[in-house]
């Protein structure tokens, strides 16, 4: 070093100052993306796994995951969008909730986003305008309905997975008479489980999946038809096997009862897997909704549930599109599906799922016909919303306050009030 110490210090100072200047300009240049989501359960996975993985490829784009509790998400999001304070990336609910946001001009059309080519039309169907012209959210994941069971209890009582309805109810009966375990862990206090894990879970077997769902939209089938009444008849047989006080049992109560090993079977969605992995210290497995006796084909609800769109008012649309394109990649699909077993990527990439229970759920795609929840497309647009009606009547059927026929009649009469094909 020829420099005098003082000179060197001067250089260092200048270098430091320059460094600060550069880094501060680069901070200004870096885009800051905020993600709106209802998945507050996933906060840790986003901040510890997904966002760091993205920053490895794009270190200059900062991403912040900013969730709202699920029950408040829709209202909070629309208030934020109206007030212009919503984040750049919007997690999209399927079908009409997001469609209405698009129609009101809050969501950016995504047809020109390159990554969209990795998704099939079926995957995209939940986030497309009625005329099919514009896609406004990039599909992320679907969830599959079924039943999760405690393997240790099944071994203890010498039970095996049921395939048919008779087997299913025999099984419940055995658990009830031969043990102190709760046969079926579900409550009706929060209402949505009755419709989601009850009606939409076992229903597709009766209304033949997509066929029935489309006929319901076209008006060729009515909810009062036999196949729908039978779903509630099936549900009404659940009541004796649900735990004491199930009318006051909330969703979190059910999760705790099951993970504490006090119940044998839990009507589930695959989204419960991450929670159970963390909390249950026993092995658990899954079986698909038992088919009615004598029916060969099984139908499962494989619901396109979650997608990501761009806030039209965002100042960082370019970075947001970079993020979406990354979300369409093989890397993301693998990362997401394995970080959150039970949320199955909708992209066309071949991915490997490591979680055994998630694998089990996924294997039903080959074995059974898939459909989505029948109340989500179009039928919940008007007042009364069919989804709300399903919650209400399914709870009442499970509580023994309403007959299956009356439940069907109420939902049909609700539809007939505003939906022309049912008038």
């Amino acid at each position: 070093m020829r420099n005098t110490p003082l000179k060197g210090a001067g250089f260092q100072m200048a270098g430091l100052a320059l460094g600060i200047a550069i880094s501060s300009t680069s901070v200004q240049a870096a885009d800051w993306l905020v993600i709106e989501s209802w998945r507050n359960d996933d906060t840790k996975i986003w901040s510890d796994v997904i966002i760091p993985a993205f920053n490895k490829v794009h270190p200059d784009i900062k991403v912040e995951f900013n969730p709202t509790p699920p029950s408040d998400y829709n209202s909070a999001l629309s208030a934020k969008l109206q007030g212009g304070t919503a984040g750049d990336l919007i997690t999209c609910r399927p079908f009409d909730v997001s469609l209405s946001l698009y129609n009101k001009g809050y969501l950016e059309p995504l047809n020109d986003v390159e990554g969209m080519k990795h998704f099939s039309d079926v995957a995209k169907s939940a986030w497309v305008t009625d005329d099919g012209a514009a896609n406004f959210c990039m599909p992320m994941a679907s969830v599959i309905h079924g039943f999760i069971y405690n393997k240790e209890i099944f071994e203890e009582l010498g039970l095996k997975e049921p395939r048919t309805e008779t087997e299913f109810f025999d099984l419940l009966n055995t658990i009830k008479t031969e043990s102190r375990y709760i046969p079926l862990v579900m409550g009706t206090a929060d209402q949505w489980e009755a419709a989601t894990m009850g009606f939409q879970n076992v229903g597709p077997n009766y209304w033949k999946g997509e066929e029935g769902r489309k006929n319901l939209i076209s008006g060729d089938e009515k909810i009062t038809d036999d196949q729908y009444v039978k779903v509630w008849e099936h549900l009404s047989k659940w009541s004796p096997y649900m735990g004491r006080g199930y009318k006051g049992q909330r969703y979190s109560d059910s999760q705790n009862l099951f993970t504490l090993g006090r119940g044998a079977i839990y009507p589930a969605g695959s989204w419960d897997i991450p929670t159970f992995n963390e909390q249950a210290d026993f092995k658990f497995g899954a079986f698909f909704p038992p088919v009615p006796d004598g029916q060969d084909t099984c139908y499962i609800s494989d619901h396109t549930d979650i997608a990501m769109g761009i806030n039209k008012a965002s100042k960082n649309k370019k970075s947001a599109k970079i993020f979406l394109n990354w979300m369409a990649s093989q890397d993301f699909a693998e990362l997401y599906s394995n970080a959150l077993p039970g949320f199955f990527s909708l992209a066309n990439h071949k991915i490997e799922i490591k979680d055994p229970v998630a694998q089990e759920f996924l294997s039903w795609r080959d074995e059974c016909q898939q459909t989505i929840r029948n109340s989500y497309q179009i039928l919940s647009r008007g007042t009364p919303s069919m989804e709300n009606e399903l919650w209400n009547v399914s709870v009442q059927v499970l509580n023994g306050k309403m007959t299956p026929e009356n439940a069907a009649a109420q939902v049909e009469s609700g539809l007939s009030k505003w939906y022309a094909p049912h008038q």
């Binding site: 206090a189 009318k247 989804e387």
Partner: protein, 309 residues
């Protein structure tokens, strides 16, 4: 006379002193209220465009069965909610106040603080704690009832259509009983001791003293407590939302005006919210409270006898 022609200068100072309060009141209370009333006359189409539609929202809300059934159901439930408060909260509040004001009671300050405590807690905490207490799975109320021999009467009260609303009303009573107690207590303390002493000297029993001396003197306060209860109950929302969610189940048996408004304005799950219809519901809530207060003012308040103490 020159002074008769002389005009007094405009009293600017009055305006000056009124302005801050008036500005705040107008901007955060009067303007939003008027805007809400105005918004109720509009409708919104799919793209979010608003257009004037007169009284159509109100016609739908009151006469179209899809809307009117939930509306009348919520109004009736709200009335029941109010009745429970009037029959349970205020008499207990009165009783506690009378007990507290008894000069022979020790530790009265501690009791007062303890009874008032729940009022200061967040409703979310109250809802959570009571859900746990009453839970048929983890709760302690079942064992407690067994211990006192009433075990067979236990039920999932919050989950039954017939009992959910009453249970929630009683939780709310438990939380807010401190307010009538404090107000009545304060007015009981205002009664001069001479009056009480005179009645005792005249030979009246404790009951007669309460009935003939104290009660007439605190009647205006009880009236005020009632009207406060009315306004608070018809604006209630948080407890029901915290415990039962916005769908206020089972079968809408706990749906009150506040939750109906929330569902209408913000939407729920797949039901999309309508700002204009929500404004109409809010306006009706405002009118109901207005009518209630007016009835009270004209029929009760004016006839009430007041005593100069």
């Amino acid at each position: 006379m020159t002074t008769s022609n002389h005009k007094a200068p405009f009293p600017w100072h009055i305006l000056f002193f009124l302005a801050p309060g008036l500005l705040i009141y107008v901007s955060i209370s009067v303007y939003p209220l008027l805007d809400t009333l105005w918004l109720g006359f509009f409708e919104e189409d799919e793209s979010g465009q608003r257009f004037f539609s007169g009284l159509k929202n109100y016609q739908t809300l009151l006469f179209d069965a899809v809307w009117s059934e939930p509306f009348w159901n919520a109004l009736w439930n709200n009335t029941k909610f109010f009745i429970v408060h009037m029959l349970v909260q205020n008499p207990i509040g009165l009783m506690l106040a009378v007990l507290l004001s008894s000069p022979r009671l020790q530790w009265s300050n501690s009791y007062r603080t303890l009874i008032f405590m729940p009022t200061m807690l967040s409703v979310v905490i109250i809802g959570f704690v009571w859900q746990l207490l009453l839970s048929p799975i983890w709760g302690i109320s079942e064992n407690f009832l067994y211990d006192i021999g009433l075990g067979e009467y236990f039920d999932a009260w919050l989950g039954n259509e017939g009992t959910a609303l009453t249970t929630l009303s009683l939780i709310s009573v438990w939380q807010f009983v401190g307010i009538p107690m404090m107000l009545i207590y304060a007015s009981l303390l205002n009664i001069p001791d001479e009056l009480i002493d005179a009645s005792v000297v005249d030979g009246s029993s404790a009951w007669q003293t309460f009935w003939n001396i104290k009660l007439p003197l605190i009647l205006p306060t009880i009236g005020m407590v009632s009207i406060l209860t009315f306004v608070a109950n018809f604006n209630a929302f948080e407890l029901i939302y915290a415990v039962k969610g916005a769908l206020a189940g089972p079968n809408f048996s706990t749906d009150i005006m506040g939750t109906l408004f929330y569902r209408t304005f913000f939407g729920f799950q797949l039901q999309s919210g309508s700002i204009t219809m929500g404004a109409a519901v809010a306006t009706l809530m405002f009118l109901i409270i207005l009518i209630g207060v007016a009835i009270y003012l004209f029929l009760v308040q004016r006839r009430m006898q007041r005593f100069q103490l």
